[in-house]
């Protein structure tokens, strides 16, 4: 008996060891061919939640970045350089994001990273990338502190030179939503809910301060737990508060059930959120009563921009299984920005990648400017997108329909 279990353990260990070596050899196979960095392959890392609740957005980011790389390779945009995507899953967890960042840094042929989706994950990655001078372009982070420092309301200081983003910040998105709700939708009493994460609480805070400034009244606030699914207690509070509208700072896995449960509790009022709820999964979760719910999202509607039509067509033609989701266009532009920066560096170095390619690419990123999927793409002195357009979407017949586009001017 004892012997048999010993054999079993040995067999299990051997199988495990084999699997591990198999992984190991594949990794080194990836890198082996071009370790000299003299042209050849440039890897663009993608970090996003590819599993879990937020995977609908994460997979859209991954596919769109992949599409950018495919197009660049097809057009032979940078002579002698083939781009490749390596995507890692951060599960929307800061700890996993940081491990992924270290992994990208350790691989010499990674010259830029697209991602992550979550501001909280970005916080854990920024320093790792900055220390390695590896450029990072996020398609989706909207937390203002990421580019303008923790004290961004009073004194803007850029904390990390290697961090850029193509998304607009909450400092613009929250107030934009507040103006729409107060001025256009004429709702004066709001109930503010957030999920306490970097993104959600930041958005709720910027919304609240602008809404109060406009003369609106906050009749209640509530913080929910991102793990929770039962919001009936909160919904009852909302109903009894007499609010005309609910503002939610957070993401669609909670926003959907929250909207549904608020309406079920008898408060037939719209729920308004940021780009984090603008995903088709929201409708799936919120059910038929979601009609009239609003979301702001960065940029003009992807489907309406002429530059975006090509992207949508290409995306369809490439046959990805998942939708490009809310950040697809931004992810494409983020990857494209890295490609453009690499092109600049290669062109300046006589058609070859320099030995300190990472630092050079990071430097070049500051000056990148091109017409992307989401409009003109370039970065200001903090690494923020110069494109400050936003759009309000409403749920209509089970889909997000753009109702108003504009720029927030403060």
């Amino acid at each position: 008996m004892r012997q048999r279990s010993l054999i079993a353990i040995t067999a299990a260990l051997a199988a495990g060891a084999l699997t591990l070596t198999a992984c190991g050899s594949r990794d080194s196979g990836d890198k082996g061919s071009d370790s000299d960095n003299g042209g050849g392959t440039v890897v663009i890392g993608v970090d996003a939640p590819l599993t879990g609740d937020l995977s609908a957005m994460g997979l859209g980011i991954k596919n769109s970045a992949d599409l950018a790389v495919r197009n660049a390779n097809k057009q032979k945009l940078v002579k002698g350089v083939t781009f490749k995507i390596e995507s890692l899953d951060d599960q929307a967890q800061p700890s996993a994001g940081q491990q992924n960042a270290s992994k990208f840094v350790s691989e010499q042929d990674v010259l830029g990273v697209v991602g992550p989706l979550n501001s909280s994950v970005a916080e854990s990655m920024q320093k790792v990338f900055d220390d390695a001078k590896l450029v990072q372009v996020s398609p989706a982070n909207t937390g203002p502190a990421l580019t303008q420092g923790p004290d961004w309301q009073n004194k803007k200081v850029r904390p990390y030179k290697a961090y850029f983003r193509t998304a607009t910040t909450d400092a613009i998105q929250g107030p934009f939503a507040a103006q729409y709700v107060f001025n256009t939708a004429k709702k004066k009493k709001v109930f503010v809910i957030d999920d306490k994460k970097t993104y959600g609480s930041g958005l709720a805070a910027t919304f609240t301060s602008e809404f109060k400034k406009l003369g609106g009244k906050v009749v209640g606030t509530e913080h929910i737990n991102p793990d929770a699914k039962d919001f009936s207690a909160v919904a009852t509070k909302v109903k009894n508060s007499g609010a005309e509208v609910v503002y939610y700072g957070g993401e669609y896995p909670q926003a959907g059930p929250l909207s549904k449960q608020i309406k079920a509790a008898g408060a037939k009022i719209p729920l308004v959120g940021g780009d984090g709820i603008k995903d088709d999964t929201f409708m799936k979760l919120a059910g038929s009563e979601a009609t009239g719910d609003l979301a702001t999202s960065v940029g003009a509607p992807v489907e309406d921009l002429p530059s975006a039509k090509q992207f949508v067509a290409d995306y369809k033609a490439a046959g990805y299984k998942e939708e490009y989701s809310a950040y697809g266009g931004y992810a494409y532009d983020s990857a494209w920005a890295i490609i453009e920066a690499v092109k600049k560096v290669v062109d300046a170095n006589g058609g070859k990648l320099p030995s300190d390619a990472r630092a050079k690419v990071t430097e070049a990123m500051q000056g990148v400017a091109f017409d992307g999927v989401t409009g003109k793409v370039s970065f200001d002195e903090y690494g923020d997108a110069t494109n400050k357009q936003l759009t309000v979407y409403a749920v209509k017949n089970g889909a997000w329909v753009p109702v108003k586009s504009g720029t927030y001017t403060g």
Partner: protein, 309 residues
């Protein structure tokens, strides 16, 4: 408007679901002293079992027909997985040190999550669960959702069936005997292997009913739904007195009501507005748990923890 009745109903509904899942923890613990951390995932597979039946039924089937079939589907899947887990994961470790089955349970929980994530069609994000049509019911100032009606009926019925089974049937008495002293029970002719398997199966069946209630209540199910709910149900089992089946239900209800009331009212206490939101409700629930365990270490209805140690 006074929101207390509504909040109590909210808490009662949430707590009934905790209770249905907690029964599985408490039964298995009562008989083999194993904390079956994979129970939350068995609950989750039950929900997917019900969804599978729904997808297999022709579109437009009325809920009156579909619901019983879905419950059967949920129970069959959950019981099959629980019994399989007992036979192949836990039984070989029955005489091993206590930690070994515990770690096995945690591993099994992760494995089940990933299996559903990887192989169930489109389970990588949430899947919608069929809903019972018809508007909410209003009783005075209290609103009860159509989906919750199922929970309101299922929880007490399940509890009554369980009590009858444990107290009145031969197998139930065998169960009590095994819980008291497995060796003596065996000597008296009780087939303890069978009893243990039935304990796992019963726990899984109640979790499956809870899973259908979860789907009807929230309209969506996903591969991680068992993690937090399992943890809460385990807490409910401890609160009520682990090993005691009535304790599981009472612990569940107390926990659910405590969470709901904490969300609703703590913020109104002067100086406590920072600690009153829903994200703090879990904290208050655990404060309650600690207080209960401080004065009654055996839980609300617990029994004889001392002679186990």
């Amino acid at each position: 408007m006074n929101e207390l009745p509504q909040q109590l109903v909210n808490g009662l509904l949430l707590g009934s679901m905790y209770g249905l899942v907690a029964i599985g923890y408490t039964m298995v613990y009562g008989i083999v002293q194993l904390i079956n951390f994979a129970h939350g995932e068995i609950f989750m597979t039950g929900a997917f079992g019900a969804l599978t039946v729904w997808l297999w039924l022709p579109g437009g089937t009325t809920m009156w027909i579909a619901l019983p079939l879905m419950i059967i589907g949920a129970v069959v899947v959950a019981v099959a997985i629980a019994v399989g887990a007992e036979r192949f994961a836990y039984r070989p470790l029955r005489n091993a040190p206590r930690l070994a089955p515990l770690i096995t349970a945690i591993g099994l929980s992760l494995a089940l999550q990933q299996a559903v994530w990887a192989w169930y069609p489109e389970a990588k994000s949430a899947r919608t669960f069929p809903q019972i049509s018809g508007g909410p019911f209003e009783i005075g100032s209290v609103t009860i959702q159509t989906g919750d009606i199922f929970l309101v009926c299922a929880a007490p019925i399940s509890m009554a069936v369980l009590a009858w089974f444990v107290l009145k049937t031969r197998t139930g008495r065998g169960m009590q005997a095994t819980a008291q002293d497995p060796d003596t029970a065996k000597l008296m002719g009780v087939n303890t292997d069978r009893i243990i398997m039935i304990a796992f199966a019963l726990g899984a069946a109640f979790a499956a009913v809870g899973a259908v209630a979860y789907g009807l209540k929230y309209g969506e199910i996903n591969f991680r739904m068992g993690v937090i709910l399992g943890l809460k149900a385990f807490t409910a089992a401890v609160l009520g007195g682990i090993g005691n089946i009535y304790g599981a239900m009472i612990g569940g209800v107390v926990l659910g009501v405590a969470e709901t009331l904490a969300t609703a009212y703590i913020a109104d206490i002067p100086g406590m507005d920072k600690f009153g939101s829903q994200s703090w409700a879990d904290l208050w629930a655990f404060v309650l748990l600690i207080l209960v365990l401080l004065f009654r270490p055996q839980g609300l209805l617990g029994e004889r923890v001392a002679d186990r140690a």
